[in-house]
Symmetry: C2
């Protein structure tokens, strides 16, 4: 058991070293980097596609796209005209700081204001691995139920903002029990400063507040 703990510390230490280098890169070059974390299917890619497209005349966003397999999400980002680098983890459950460093060396960083890491769809593991990001952003879909902050607290405790997505589905009879106030209350219990956006990335509803906040984060 002792050995396991030591090795975990070693792996985390190596990740921390890469994360520190990434962080230094962002700070030195006056860029921001958001690490977006959620369950599979919460709508991260749809949020990003709409954001890149709507903000194209205000800021330039590069995406580091993490998936267990496939490059479907990267293709969707490309179709919006966004810069993207795909990482297939081939089974691994989170992105590492070394993978982010590799993405940075392949993206046209000089012309980008902000980076968004779309982490592997997983509400547990990615929250434990620092990537050098400026901030973490938690995303939840209303279709996942209103108990996610209570059941998966780590990511909500560590995030600067939370996006509650797919609010257009709240009209459906099947979601009549969903209590959005519980989600917000539980998230704030873990993290009283967390900024909360209620959006439908599909319809665009509520996205303007997110755009304005994102542009404020970009140091220009």
């Amino acid at each position: 058991m002792k050995k396991k703990i030591d090795l975990n510390q070693k792996i985390l230490k190596s990740n921390e070293e890469y994360a520190a280098r990434n962080r230094e890169f962002f700070e030195t070059n006056d860029k921001i980097c958001l690490n977006m974390i959620s369950s599979p299917g919460s709508g991260k890619t749809t949020i990003l596609c709409r954001t890149i497209s709507e903000l194209s005349d205000r800021i330039s966003i590069g995406v580091i796209e993490g998936d267990v397999e496939s490059d479907y999400d990267a293709q969707r980002i490309k179709q919006t005209g966004g810069e993207v680098f795909q990482i297939e983890t081939k089974g691994a459950c989170h992105l590492s700081a070394a993978q982010v460093a590799r993405a940075l060396s392949n993206l046209p960083c000089e012309k980008l204001d902000a980076f968004v890491i779309e982490n592997v769809g997983n509400l547990v593991c990615p929250s434990a691995f620092e990537l050098g990001e400026t901030a973490k952003i938690a995303v939840v879909s209303v279709a996942e139920g209103d108990d996610k902050p209570a059941k998966y607290p780590a990511i909500f405790a560590k995030s600067k903002a939370m996006i509650i997505n797919k609010t257009d589905l709240l009209e459906a009879e099947g979601l009549s029990d969903f209590d959005i106030e519980r989600v917000k209350k539980d998230a704030r219990k873990l993290n009283k400063k967390i900024k909360i956006f209620e959006v439908s990335a599909r319809t665009g509803q509520g996205m303007q507040n997110w755009y304005d906040w994102l542009c404020e984060q970009v140091k220009k």
Copy 2:
């Protein structure tokens, strides 16, 4: 790097030993055990509550409830009259075979026909850890999008059955792009024998086929 691989093998080996003991227990005692795996919020607990309640006069089901934190799901199972043992993983992203062994020693096994392990909500990690189960069951909600088998193939490749849940939401305008045939086709590409159930655990729609299949699995 060599050291990491060796240690992973050791951890997996230890897990395999517990899994083998669990498997032997199920086989010797003529019980079945299903390991239910999905993203957070796909509706596993709702499926289980309805199943336990509807099948109460046909089979007796015990639930091994895995959560990162909280016992909300175990409380819901208890309210249906089901036998349940809660495991809080306190941050860990999957259940281990040792945890399942501990649950078995705390459940009234002699009066149960079937066990269902509700694994931690995570479409990646739990598929890599054998728990001694008779079969894995993958659950996806229609609100997660139709690309889950393509993007998270491991669990669909390894499962005996897949439950596509929340079909009542398909009427919502926001899910008009969801292609259920794509989900089924992609899952069958990975696993041509996979049994597929389309259900709404909330309304009960389609659940009868699942009940009948589950009862067939129980060796009586």
